[in-house]
Symmetry: C2
Subunit: 337 residues, 2 copies
């Protein structure tokens, strides 16, 4: 085992980088939900003035990144690396956002796990001494995701009870070295898990085993118990996946019920906003963490959180070819130290 790893899947950072600025940009529907006061920018128009939903999504990721750089009084040339990914085929939201930013760029694909994946790699690169500043970012858009993964909106398809509503939004986090900000202290990298779920209307159930596995490994590797954290928050399991995760972790001997939350479960008023099992998409974990939880950390309302994002690693093609939906989850400890 290498020196900086503790346990099988976790790295304890020796020089924990600080999250010195974040930006959350959301669409109009997210801006009417219960977390509306915690988002930085709420769009009045989910096309953001662009002529396609895909271009809109790319533009909101660009906005999240460029606003974050501005908040820290930096310029693009100060940023050593940009790590970003999104849900669209060939991650075009990230690629076209990166085109307009002259920053060395690593493109990622981890489906809805991308906020934790980008933050994990960014934290390791910072800790290793390869950068002074790194941006981690991701996005999703309800209308670009629906037509790519399910049906064109114009079909007016009925939504299943376990289905989730892809968040329109983008988040960006800027890592630096100085100041009174929360630090990334541990990175637990996930293994792909597949329990045979085949329905794209039940992503929460497909991703829950991955979340359970990564939370379990994180707690085992660090020797921590769930109550070490003020919050353990998964990305977008929604109401169905959240319940499965809580129940399965109990079977593994961990009762997370007092500290466990899920970004997908809280971003919408699921009854009133008719979002069924809750929010989903890379943007869900991104905006709830860059908006709601980062503000709670900065206000001192919480001081230790375990941020997880969970990804369903399927494609419409793999589903049509009869494949089940594998999931992955990455976890990052964020603490004031």
């Amino acid at each position: 085992m290498s020196t900086k790893k503790i346990g099988s899947q976790t790295v304890k950072l020796e020089h924990p980088p600080k999250i010195i600025a974040t930006t959350s940009v959301v669409g109009p529907k997210e801006g009417q939900g219960p977390l509306k006061d915690s988002f930085d920018i709420i769009l009045q128009d989910d096309t953001n003035g662009k002529d396609s939903y895909e271009k809109a999504e790319s533009s909101i990721m660009y906005t999240a990144i460029s606003e974050t750089i501005k908040k820290a009084n930096l310029s693009e040339s100060d940023i050593d690396y940009l790590l970003a990914g999104d849900l669209l085929n060939q991650i075009i939201s990230s690629n076209y956002a990166a085109r307009d930013l002259k920053i060395p760029f690593f493109g990622l694909y981890g489906a809805c796990s991308t906020m934790a994946e980008s933050l994990s790699l960014a934290s390791l690169l910072m800790d290793g001494g390869y950068a002074d500043y790194i941006i981690a970012s991701t996005s999703s858009h309800f209308s670009s995701a629906e037509r790519q993964f399910r049906f064109p909106l114009e079909y007016g398809s009925q939504r299943a009870e376990a289905s989730q509503w892809t968040v329109t939004g983008a988040g960006a986090m800027l890592l630096g070295k100085e100041g009174n900000y929360p630090s990334v202290t541990h990175v637990t990298t996930g293994i792909v898990k597949d329990y045979g779920i085949t329905s794209a209307d039940n992503m929460g159930a497909a991703m829950a085993p991955a979340a359970v596995d990564t939370i379990y490994k994180h707690l085992e590797d660090t020797g921590r118990t769930p109550d070490y954290y003020d919050v353990i928050c998964t990305g977008d399991l929604g109401l169905v996946g959240k319940k499965i995760t809580t129940d399965l972790l109990k079977e593994y001997g961990y009762d997370v019920s007092k500290v466990y939350e899920d970004c997908g479960a809280i971003i919408f008023d699921n009854e009133k906003q008719e979002t069924k099992s809750g929010g989903s998409g890379c943007g869900c974990s991104a905006v709830v963490n860059c908006g709601y939880y980062y503000k709670k950390l900065m206000k001192g309302e919480i001081s230790k959180m375990l941020l997880l994002s969970t990804g369903a690693l399927m494609s419409p093609t793999s589903s049509l070819q009869g494949e089940s939906i594998p999931g992955i989850a990455h976890a990052v400890s964020i603490e004031f130290i």
Copy 2:
């Protein structure tokens, strides 16, 4: 500027990881080309016994990775991280290969730059002390790529002169710390470049400016001249892109003509095999580097090479929406030290 960076985009590794094993798996057509003797596994059937081209592609990536682990007399549980990506929507080749390997997994998307992208990140993570062993891998498949990016093969579309032939193949590299193997000494991370090319039949021209930019930055950052290297090899610019790259670098004051090669230009006999401007796809750079060049390094025929892979960061959707094709290139110095 952070300590380990030299110049604007390059890291000089303090503990250069070694490439202790590689595997190249290719399809029947690649196995009839001029580099056939340098590949580890040549498939007799490009479906690899699977019932879809996508499943075939995933299975050959799995083969490349698992054979590489075997060659080093290791098991999956010895590998700290797997970094992999491919061309398919939602990188399903990599995701389903990772599902069958119980290794902490970071999914990447860099289009055909993925061999250099995965090797770059793997090298930084190794150098930083986060792992004893990491696998970097990528794949492509002619038949899964054609139907996703251009036309179903059944249409029998004519091929343009500047078009390239997507390589069916997968490569995997295993990084370790010990032994008489070539090391990764420098990592130069690319910036997205877009010169306004819009034709998916001319990817070489779209990607060449990115290759030029990254080679130029690498030489400026390290203070090296092209003749420091025995070979500077780009991934899949093909004949058209190779010429543009050579000419543009001359304008920037660097004559690379004596040491410059392109994997896409040499993998096929372009006249006899009717591959027009040459090979392309993530697999092109992967199999030529994991096969042909790695064997040359191990035999002592070359001792210093600059490996670049170049990616065209478009999607069929972005092309239909009128977007041009941005490119990116990452470079990795591989040397016996």
